[in-house]
Symmetry: C2
Subunit: 412 residues, 2 copies
């Protein structure tokens, strides 16, 4: 097993001033190529702390990945500390300087004093170009251990990892051939899913491993095959997926790593169908799920968010007597909302949500978390009642996932 | 200086399968009471890894905070490993058992086999009740070092920290009296803000420290006073804040730690004013900013999301000839959107957004990131053109912050 250790350098992370999203991403990417992270650490911007963690990590890991501390200011001491650790010094790296100048030139600027220092690397570093920023990536080898230094800016780090470092690690460690198959599910919890597929999972060949990656409202399965020959592993994985699908078919929405709203967007685009929404309790969150997907304007036409009952009546044409008799959170209201928005906006589908998101506003017969959703089509309107919990943001999110899932089922 | 080390136990975090939000929160809370985090680490669910990090941390820190590995299943080995580390053993803790049984009873369930084990604690542990879950908190002392063990479930951990552990740490270490004043700003970047207030910051008394806590589109300032007498520190901080405000008055939206949409919601409620929105490029995200705030239904009435031009024309009454002549992304269109939504929904303010969120859809004269925003009132419509970048989600988020800020200025 090849062992990795990930080190984040910077006081802002240590003191909780900024969120570290890098280490999770790096460890997940390493996992995909068969490298196991054995320790993650954050240390501050002091030479002593950095030198200590370098020597600790060296004793445990085959590869040490370091992010942060590469900026142009005097707080950023990662490079100097690498020099001290390796007993070497900084010098201008010719190619790094050329790339740095080109980076600035493209943006119509000159490289100035502090930034010039970014072309200086420890003498034993292998230079890795950072196409998205000014701090280069670096690769070191000493006594069989690999050290990688990257900037802390997430998209720069991701660019370096994907373009250069992950392929290089695979080559260097001759990691086993690995093939992943993602199976994305919705509408089933992790434990029930695990029970349903337990027999299948237990019968998996030794070189195939299943991982459950749950998030709120959906579970991602990742089936990984390890071996020597890629074609053989691929065929093995495919054959197991073929056995799995029939067991959980109604919950599977994609065999690749995409969000539910992306999968639905593709379905709508393929079929040339359009959607509008009428939102009460989700209050724009459902529309945002559609519209955060690039290109969604071709199938998503718009929404009427009717937070106030006057908007339900005047903009959506919900009958006041329906609201009086059954209330805003009712099947009768949701049917009118979904059918009317569909008709008014002239789309194939009309989606509607109405419920008590909380934390206040619960009624004896309609506690917080009582939510109605509906999908109206030309011929039929599908409704569903949800009974969720007491947390507002969670109720909004889960309502959105549930109605997207209802639309998915209607689309099939 | 009192030094803390935070340790997260669990393979799911190590392999990047779940996001660790605990360590950031813990370190930020420790920072507030004057305890400095010197190292954060994640290790897997193995005895060896846990014992190693325990002894490393012991050599560096005055307090070691550990989360995770307290579940009822056999993967969860934190308690057993603490026993090994301290040379003690597990035994049923009477009060823990009483609380555990009460916890289950309240939910109409019996405590069963595996869960019963959660009332077993190392003999040297001080029991700390977890009111929100079944895994107790624990406090150990050995050779002057404090060890704290908490469950990994974020809201359980936060409950334990806030109710019991933070006050106990303050008592134990007799940390200096600390007073924080938050100053929340919007509409100014970190570096320009820092320049503007440099003279003020340089002249701060020695026992006052300023922290910059930036997030996308806004910067939070935290002025912290350290000392002996709380009243004296409070007065000192208040006097410095009084000098600061005039320098950055136009950017300050709150002197407490609340989001912009919460501050605006309070202003609207106070003044008895209502808002509606007409969204194109923000696609529901702006509505969600309003509606995610509990109680927002009293001032936020609804939105028309006009992603398709037909919705702009039919639901918002934008004139087709305006769209033809100036395009959807224009001052002329945004004025009609904001004024018409205000009138149609019958609110005091009408907010509108229209722009090219990207990544596609840019035009030579309107590149991706070109966005118009407007706030219509009874008497006047305020417009603003934004020139943002190439990232869709970022453009949506920043547009939303900018228009909320425009509304804030209009409200004042």
């Amino acid at each position: 097993m090849i062992k990795a250790e990930i080190i984040t350098i910077g006081d802002e992370i240590l003191y909780g001033q900024i969120t570290d999203t890098n280490t999770q991403w790096i460890s997940a990417e390493l996992d995909k190529i068969g490298i196991k992270t054995v320790r993650k650490s954050s240390v501050g911007d002091t030479e002593e702390a950095i030198l200590t963690i370098f020597s600790e990590a060296t004793s445990r890991a085959d590869v040490v990945l370091v992010t942060g501390g590469l900026g142009p200011t005097k707080d950023d001491i990662t490079k100097k500390t690498f020099c001290k650790y390796f007993g070497t010094k900084l010098a201008v790296h010719e190619q790094a300087l050329i790339d740095l100048k080109a980076f600035f030139q493209k943006r119509g600027r000159e490289v100035t004093g502090l930034n010039l220092g970014q072309a200086e690397l420890p003498l034993n570093a292998t230079y890795i170009q950072n196409k998205l920023g000014t701090a280069p990536g670096m690769w070191f080898e000493q006594n069989g251990v690999i050290y990688i230094s990257m900037p802390g800016v997430p998209y720069e780090m991701k660019g370096l990892m994907s373009d250069a470092i992950l392929p290089r690690l695979q080559g260097h460690f001759k990691t086993p051939t690995i093939f992943h198959q993602i199976i994305r599910t919705v509408g089933i919890g992790e434990s029930i899913l695990a029970e349903k597929i337990a027999d299948w999972e237990d019968a998996l060949p030794e070189n195939l491993k299943l991982a459950y990656l749950p998030s709120m409202g959906s579970v991602k399965l990742r089936l990984t095959g390890f071996g020597e020959n890629e074609e053989v592993i691929k065929a093995q994985v495919a054959s197991e997926v073929q056995k799995l699908i029939p067991i959980i078919e109604e919950f599977v929405y994609a065999l690749e790593d995409i969000e539910l709203e992306v999968a639905i967007g593709r379905l709508l685009k393929e079929k040339g169908l359009t959607v509008s929404t009428a939102e009460s309790c989700t209050g724009g969150y459902l529309a945002h799920q559609f519209t955060k997907v690039a290109g969604s304007s071709s199938y998503y036409w718009g929404s009427v968010i009717s937070y106030d009952n006057s908007v339900k009546i005047n903009q959506l044409g919900v009958r006041p007597e329906t609201l009086d008799q059954f209330g805003a959170v009712s099947e009768e209201t949701i049917i009118q909302m979904s059918e009317n928005v569909r008709q008014k906006l002239g789309t194939d589908f009309g989606l509607a949500t109405s419920g008590i998101a909380g934390p206040d506003g619960g009624l004896p017969d309609k506690p917080v978390g009582t939510i109605w959703i509906a999908v109206a089509t030309k011929d039929k309107t599908y409704t569903q009642k949800l009974q969720l919990g007491g947390f507002r943001e969670q109720n909004i999110h889960l309502t959105s996932i549930n109605i997207l899932n209802l639309l998915r089922k209607v689309l099939k």
